[in-house]
Amino acid sequence: MPEYEIIIGFGSCGIAAGARRAFDIFAEEAEKSSAKISVKPTGCIGACHREPLVGVRESDGKQYLYGEVDEKRAGEIINRHIHGGEVIRDWLVKPDYPYFTKQKKIVLANSGIIDPENMDEYIKVKGYKALKKVLFEMTPEELIEDIKASGLRGRGGAGFPTGLKWGFARNSMGDKKYMICNADEGDPGAFMDRSVLEGDPHAVLEGMIIGAYAIGADEGFIYVRAEYPLAIKRLNIAIAQAKAKGLLGDSIMNSGFSFNVHIKEGAGAFVCGEETALMASIEGKRGMPRLRPPYPAVKGLWGAPTNINNVETLANVPAIIRMGGHVYAETGTEKSKGTKVFALAGKIKRGGMVEVPMGTTLREVIFDIGGGIQGDKKFRAVQLGGPSGGCIPGSLLDTPVDYDSLTSTGAIMGSGGMVVMDESTCMVDVARFFLSFTQNESCGKCTFCRIGTKRMLEILERITMGHGGMEDIDKLEELAVKIKVASLCALGQTAPNPVLTTLKYFREEYEDHILRKKCPAKKCKALIRFKVVPENCTGCTLCVRVCPTGSVHGERRQIHEIDPDLCIKCGLCEEACHFDAIEITTGDIKAGVIS
């Protein structure tokens, strides 16, 4: 054992923040003295806002986690901590860091601890124990009962009880059955599944094999988007390792149960996260949902009974089996058991992967764990569930995160994207953004989704341009209500949620845009105007120089002026000004002057 084990957060988040450079520096040092230090990558450690994260584990078991480890800090850590024995307290992510203390990690338990590309490490943390228990001590029926007892519900968004789902597939007649892992995570701002796959791929694989055993499937697919190359790489490694160890393939652990897994890389169509579209895509067809019934459990992939679970759902399974369903059910609320992983993002101080027990309030997640709003601005809303979800206002911050409470707000639990918005966010524009996403991602099959969401989007565009009328609100609501109940799949059925929730909680913003041609957040370009504040302007010409269109005029030491006809409202002048001499006004121009 080397004296120091260096663990580097090597999820996509860490790599993007520069973890590779830190890794190289530590690896170089390890080459010099392998007795002194060893280096290993791990998955996302969770505190993405402090990446690159580097853990130092001393031989006596003491652990320290350093944040923001760039090249300079990496060198210093080697010099001062490894060679000097000095813990550099200022750079530490302290163990009592509130970001971690309120979390409870089941799904993410191994992420950031083990090396995801090293199966032995997974096995060291009781990996594949659950599979062994299932194969040799439980019948599929007992297994399904245990999952039912755990109260586990699908983490992909809809929250369907997993045990029930497995039971359906189990009871469905068929020589051939399929087990599918849905890793087509597509919500903007969501990265839970990616982190789990990158940080603990074996847990997902183990959950999948257990599920296959439950329903009687001998073949499975992991449908993962091609934009997740690291997750795919680590999954491939995990599959190869498991196969080599006899944990995957024919007669697993000589139990007589066989299961093979393929990875199907999706091309990025959002709708392929919908189970029937996903199966069509695996079959090589255009990713389009079909009518249900028949449900996949009866008639799924290539017509065979098929079970589809989300990544996070499957990652829960080994833990449930190890601890027992009843123990798992002790965490959470009456109807929502266990924990939920959120990707906390947006205008939040501490963003990253967060896993909390069901029932934790939004306020606790955002303010206690996330530390509140960046720059101590005012909280405006939290968006849950991505384009299928809704915007929840401050008055509902004490809503507990569980399936039913969140649904009652008009939002949904969704897959776990949690985007925090501050007062500089225009809620109409947010609704427009999400709708433009769903409209782009609509498969085009059914009328209400294909054309209805397009018309809603056009109305929202009209409103943000200042061309809206009050009748547009009625039309939006009329369309939204019908699209929800007359669309083929969940994409269309949930697409109006961002509009409906913003209309419910932020209606006055719509009215401001329509009646007063005013964007309170000063985001909608057609409704704002950049002006020079004469009393603050020093005539430094900084703004004149950055303006890309030459709309700012003024001689040195003269008060500058902005030509509204030329101004494209890019905001560069405001950023450049050191004297708060550029102000943005709204509600004082006629609609649609600027296109």
């Binding site: 169509a269 255009r286 389009m288 079909r290 009518l291 409209q439 782009n440 991602e441 609509s442 498969c443 085009g444 099959k445 059914c446 009328t447 209400f448 294909r450 054309i451 209805g452 969401t453 397009k454 018309r455 056009e458 039309k475 009329e478 369309l479 019908k482 929800k484 109940v485 007359a486 669309s487 083929l488 059925q493």
Partner: protein, 786 residues
């Protein structure tokens, strides 16, 4: 082995039905109409249109009835308000991106909605007799209108956006004259006599048109005409050189000879009373026209050399000796003014001037008439109005005029002329003809005062002709005010329809249909036709100004056959081929859908006519995917597929090549049979000459006869579709042995059936067919009408 029966609640009705049937099937059996666009009994349920939705208790949201199977205890609502409004919205959303014209703008502009695209297409296909029948369905005066109509249809013609409009009116005249002078001109079929009687007062275009349609419906019609001869303003208001009397007489005769009694010199209020007619007849149509001339309201206008234009023209027709001087001033800017001026010229006037108070742009006269008048040497002075007429004893001396300028727009949208103070001037003149407008003489109607409004004008519904008096209807200028002939003819047609409704005890109703119009969504612009060939219009042979200006000989001499066919070939075929079968059109009417309710982006796509038998119009596609599915799932081909996503989604031939270049298509036409709208249609080839298709695809009403295909030994069930004697299409029939499937030969390669037996039949590839056609037909039992 019978299926398990289950009990369900369907719209409050308790039904016992076999389990596993779809809600749609059950509804059909119950006679409940559920609309559906994407469902096809040959295919698995798909669920793209969401028009067939119903509510099922306990289900989340609406469910598609085409795919939902009944279960015991199911409670179904197939037509409550919630369902209806959702269906309506689905249709309106579909319509908001369904960019097509059900009917062409020419037809929609025509007051009588003549099927212009139809007859122009038939002319292009040299089916002149069928073209004539189509015209006469809506206009019994085609030879007349072919000469005098100011042709609003041509102003609306989309070809204006390419080069110049199709000469619709001259094509009508060509077809009509061909028939009229054939010696055995067309008589429409008459239904058996009903024994009901109608009196029509006025034998002008409105009255005769009404008579024409009523007599066809088995009504005994008597037309009371105040003048010596029938024809109304057509005879007494339009000079010979435009409306030759022999043509008029012949055409009136085609109407009268159907069994209409004409009583001339019978004037309402003088020779008979309205109240008596109402007693003696089951229904009365008033069509007495608008024969009164508006006064100039200037000093001196009561002089005997100040004539009324309309009286002047009438007196000429009646052969009266009309006194006319050397210098004639005509006041007005309508067709009557032009006609009076040109007639004066023909009567020997040396200097004829027209004084009009606005500019040429505002002149109501047809622009070709104005050009012709100028060519004949008539001087038209714009922006002048008369102030006084000065006489010198028995003769006129001069007319005093004032210059005008255009001011604000008035109610008609035209700029109102305003006198320029102090700009008065005088012009020497011998005769003044006033043609500034006409109005109806409502004096004989005063016996039934409820017919008239406060100002003494007849009041009635413009579309039904219904008046305030039950059983009394009105048509023509009396109802509409002075207007063009075709409007009177249309009025007569509508009044006849209303009379028929009235006689059946129904309230007269103007039938409306849903019409998808491109311009409702996105204006059609010239850029849409940038790839269209520029083809100048055919020029009609005319007498030269010198030849014509001193004679009353007809000026326009008509098209030759080749000219007519070439000109008809210029038609852009704006109307939809699927007009009579489009499901979207039908449901849009059923649900009162408004196409422009969800106005937004509209996807325009070019029409693809590269396929030899199938026309593709993606702008009309509603993405139901029936074509894709039938091609793949039934035929096993897969020549069509989706492209793009979301709102941009599109159905295209594989690899988005032109359909004609798609390599796997076997031209079975299944996609066409599956398409519920006009996005995929057969190219109907009526105009086949020497094996080469030369004509137009014409949307025609069809008669369907069931039969069997004879092209091979399989003997597929098919439908033979005819328009008159013409075989238009052969389509599939969902019966043994083929159950709705067909092949290329059976569906498309049968156009030789339209070749008259005397010609040697040739197949689509131009190879001659050995057997004689009649021999073939006898051996197959194909029902072909001679």
């Amino acid at each position: 082995m019978s299926k398990k029966q289950v009990s369900i609640d369907f719209d409050g009705r308790k039904l016992i039905v076999p389990e596993g049937k779809t809600i749609l099937d059950v509804a059909e059996e119950q006679g409940i109409k559920i609309p559906t666009l994407c469902h096809d009994s040959r295919l698995e349920p798909y669920g793209s249109c969401w028009v067939c939705i119903v509510e099922v208790e306990g289900a989340r949201g609406f469910v598609p009835s085409c795919a939902t199977k009944v279960r015991g205890g199911m409670v179904i609502y197939s037509g409550n308000e919630n369902v209806k409004s959702a269906r309506k919205m689905a249709l309106e959303l579909i319509l908001s991106n369904h960019y097509g014209d059900c009917k062409p703008p020419c037809t929609l502009t025509c007051p009588s909605n003549i099927d212009i695209q139809g007859y122009v297409g038939l002319i292009a296909d040299r089916k002149f007799a069928e073209a004539l029948k189509l015209i006469k369905k809506d206009n019994p005066f085609p030879s007349v209108c072919g000469r005098v109509c100011p042709r609003p249809c041509e102003d609306a013609c989309r070809r204006n956006l390419v080069d110049e409009p199709v000469a619709i009116d001259w094509l009508k005249r060509y077809t009509a004259d061909l028939d009229l002078f054939s010696g055995k001109s067309y008589d429409p079929p008459l239904t058996p006599k009903t024994g009901r009687r109608a009196a029509i007062i006025g034998g002008g275009p409105a009255g005769l048109s009404a008579a024409y349609y009523l007599v066809q419906a088995g009504i005994d019609v008597t037309v009371f005409e105040g003048m010596e001869k029938a024809g109304g303003m057509l005879r007494y208001g339009i000079p010979d050189y435009r409306m030759p009397r022999d043509v008029l007489d012949l055409e009136i005769n085609t109407i009268l000879r159907l069994g209409i009694e004409l009583k001339t010199n019978m004037r309402l209020g003088r020779d008979m009373e309205l109240s008596d007619l109402k007693k003696d007849y089951d229904a009365v149509i008033l069509a007495i026209g608008a024969w009164k001339s508006r006064n100039l309201r200037v000093a001196g206008e009561n002089h005997r050399d100040v004539l009324s234009g309309i009286e002047f023209l009438r007196d000429i027709t009646m052969g009266k000796d009309v006194r006319i001087g050397k210098r004639v001033a005509v006041i007005g800017g309508g067709n009557t003014a032009i006609d009076a001026a040109r007639t004066s010229l023909r009567l020997g006037a040396a200097e004829v001037s027209i004084f009009y108070r606005r500019t040429r742009n505002e002149m109501p006269a047809h622009h070709t008439e104005i050009d012709d008048a100028i060519a004949e040497g008539i001087d038209i002075r714009y922006l002048v109005a008369p102030v006084a007429v000065e006489a010198d004893g028995d003769s006129l001396k001069s007319i005093e005029l004032v210059k005008m300028e255009l001011g604000e727009r008035d109610a008609s949208g035209r700029r109102r002329p305003v006198p320029v103070e102090g700009s008065n001037f005088k012009a020497p003149v011998d005769t003044v003809i006033s043609a500034i407008g006409q109005y109806a003489d409502s004096l004989p109607l005063e016996v039934m005062e409820e017919l008239l409004d406060k100002r003494g004008y007849l009041k009635g519904d413009e579309y039904t002709g219904a008046t305030a008096v039950e059983g009394v209807f009105a048509a023509g200028d009396l109802l509409t005010g002075p207007s063009i002939a075709i409007r009177a003819i249309a009025g007569g047609k509508y009044a006849a329809r209303s009379v028929l409704q009235y006689l059946k005890g129904k309230t007269p109703e103007h039938q409306t249909e849903f019409l998808s119009k491109k311009d409702d969504l996105l204006p059609v612009v010239s850029d849409d036709f940038k790839d269209e060939n520029r083809i100048p219009g055919e020029k009609m042979k005319t007498l030269s100004p010198e030849e014509r200006k001193h004679s009353f000989k007809e000026i326009e001499l008509g098209f030759t056959e080749e000219q007519a066919v070439r000109e008809a070939g210029r038609c852009l075929e704006c109307g939809c081929q699927d007009l009579y079968e489009c499901k979207l059109k039908e449901y849009a009417r059923d649900y009162n859908a408004v196409a422009a309710r969800f106005l937004g982006e509209v996807k325009k796509h070019p029409v693809d006519i590269s396929h030899p038998f199938i026309a593709r119009e993606p702008s009309k596609c509603i993405l139901c995917a029936r074509c894709i599915r039938i091609c793949l799932e039934v035929q096993g081909i897969g020549a069509l597929g989706y492209m793009y996503r979301g709102f941009s989604s599109l159905v295209v031939p594989s690899f988005d090549v032109p359909f004609g270049e798609e390599q796997t298509c076997i031209s079975c036409g299944q996609c066409v049979s599956a398409c519920p709208v006009g996005a995929l249609t057969e190219k109907i080839q009526l105009g086949v000459k020497n094996g080469i298709s030369i004509g137009k695809t014409v949307p025609l009403k069809e008669r369907v006869e069931e039969g069997y295909c004879s092209r091979c030994s399989v003997g597929c069930s098919v439908e033979y579709r005819y328009h008159g004697p013409l075989l238009t299409r052969i389509t599939d029939r969902n019966e043994a042995v083929n159950y709705g499937k067909m092949c290329k030969k059976g569906r498309f390669e049968q156009s030789f059936l339209n070749i008259p037996v005397s010609e040697k039949p040739i197949d689509a590839n131009g190879n001659s067919i050995e057997f004689s056609l009649s021999c073939r037909l006898k051996s197959t039992g194909i029902p072909v009408k001679e």
